[in-house]
Amino acid sequence: MSALEVGITSFPALMILIFLRVPIGLAMFLVALVGMFIVTDGTTVAFGRLKSETYTTFSSYSLTIVPMFLLMGHFATLGGMSNALFKAAEGWLGHRKGGVAMASIGACAGFGAICGSSLATAATMGRVALPELKQYGYAGGFSTATLAAGGTLGILIPPSVVLVIYAILTEQNIAKLFLAAFIPGLLAALGYVIAISIYVRLYPEAAGTRPRVPYGERLAALVQVWPVLLVFGLVVGGIYLGWFTPTEGAAVGAAGTGLIALVNGGLTRATLVDSFFVTARSTAMIFFIVLGAGFYNGFLALTQVPQELADYVVSQGFSPWLVLTLILIFYLLFGCLMDSLSMILLTIPIFYPVISAMDFGMVNLADLQADAAMEVIRNGVPEGMASDMLAQIKTAIASGAELTRDQMKALDIRMTRGMANRIETEQVAIWFGILVLIVVEVGLITPPVGMNLFIINAMDRKTRMVDTYKAVMFFVGSDLVRVVILVAFPSITLFLLR
């Protein structure tokens, strides 16, 4: 069997192991180990890699963000900020039709700004908001579905653990990805609010009413959320402005939320130890998958499968948009079965080379040159430039043609095809990352194994799972509409970066 064939055979082998309930990290590790034995004809290479690979994977400076963000999320829970957020959102939205549900979404969005994990957001906000929804007569399935969907905002709104992993896998800038996730995250919250208002119009009996809150109280409640804004601003703003690295930002966030929890009396020895336990479990789970995936991708690279696949797809001349659509549909389907991190770690090293080899025409060389040229001309026509040269340049820009080398030399600008390609690659990587983030998140709220649904449903014994499934379809629908919009208009995701 050739190396390529071994690589291709490894996919079904891996799928079988995973479906036999072998932990995903372990399954990838095993397949990679055996695959490497076969390809390199012995144990030397695989064992040699293992001598340093576990240590280097676990000691990765950028991946340190993951346990820090997880701890930050638990501290945020202990600090009572979930309560403050919900009270503020409820004050402003609660009296509307379906308003308490909308407030839950708003509070989830706020909590997502200081928590990088979807499950933690769902669990935390569920504890705060479910009793209130009950009290104001909201139907069980509608309430649980709202909170399950709201929980996904934990990852969609930066900071986000999944984005950190994506950034590391594709060697992209974490700060730029966080920034790019911001608008789609807000769109998600808005889409959920719209889904709620449609739902309560179709099923008016699903939502009760709640009296208006006077503006004085609303403002007072809003003031209470300042620690959230402070931590979010410090972490995301600080990372973006280059005050500190993403890892340092995560440390600042964890320390900040820890401090708030300490001041509010939520952080005691018992709760601290508890946070350690929860962080330990999730961290170990994630890193074992990271380890297995790293090992598996090392094996795949040995067999040249990702390279061959990318070459094949490009040589077939498929439309990039078709390929993108198929990949996103694949994620939507698989997201129903697998958790988001495993899926990203397993598939991005295979899909990303394909996507980045395609030309989405996102960046036009002539446009970039025109921008640079206009910039120069606006600052005054360079001395000694012949007037016919200026006229030529202006005609070229007006007709959308690329500038010649002489014209660029006269303007003293440099914008080559290589530079345009690099910009295109980066923008596609970021845009694709945000799209993947959204579609894998949908998996958290789609039956049969939507983790958020389980977590929230477990908090409310009286609601049947079926009712949650039915109501959550409105939110899934809102997600799908958003994906289509973001695919069709890449600039929604990218314009903050431009």
């Binding site: 000691s59 336990f277 330990a280 194994v449």
Partner: protein, 194 residues
């Protein structure tokens, strides 16, 4: 027996948590030092109180030297220390949907095989990490800034890896016993419908 191993796993998790917290604080101190250092070097402070500024810089107000080397070494230990708790509570991510349709006996068999293989993998990881440590020691490799021997960091991680392997072996024993006796000893949420 189970209490003993759970205690061990929890102890490791707390140890890892303390190290992680220490790294968080270290990083914050380093950022604080760096910003203060920047402020002290600024024209404004230098013009206002040059003596004080120089004195503060001289006593070491600045970023912690080699902080990220400590973070890397520390976090590797913390993660190895987190594995035992995940192992003993069955916290690893897996896909249940197909396995749920299989019979109880088959599931118990699968769980046994999986856990035994997992234990073997954890032993392999610890063994190879020990090899890696010895070769780092042999080369006398040191870290770039702090110049501490790299094998120290490997040794700390090895401690966590060995405990993980021990807990892994214990869990394999548990699942073998479960398969033999048909009685679930350690519940981890997967077998609720059985």
């Amino acid at each position: 027996m189970h209490a003993l191993f759970t205690g061990l796993a929890r102890f490791m998790a707390i140890l890892g948590g303390i190290v992680l917290s220490a790294l968080i604080l270290l990083t914050c101190v380093s950022i604080l030092g760096r910003s203060l250092n920047g402020i002290l070097h600024s024209d404004f402070v230098m013009g206002l109180a040059p003596g004080l500024a120089h004195w503060l810089i001289d006593i070491g107000i600045g970023p912690v030297n080699g902080d990220f080397e400590l973070v890397e070494a520390g976090v590797a230990f913390a993660i190895f220390a987190f594995i035992p708790l995940c192992q003993i509570t069955g916290g690893h991510a897996s896909v249940d949907i197909v396995a749920n349709t299989l019979s109880r006996g088959v599931n118990r068999f699968l769980r046994m095989v999986t856990e035994v293989v997992f234990a073997l993998v954890l032993i392999l990881i610890a063994w190879k990490l020990a090899d890696g440590m010895l070769s780092k020691k042999g080369y006398g490799e040191t870290s770039f800034l702090l110049q501490f021997p790299v094998w120290w960091a490997y040794a700390a991680s090895l401690f966590g890896a060995v405990v993980s392997a021990i807990v892994g072996i214990y869990m394999a024993g548990v699942r073998v016993t479960e398969f033999a006796t048909g009685r679930i000893l350690v519940w981890d949420g997967v077998e609720t419908d059985q």
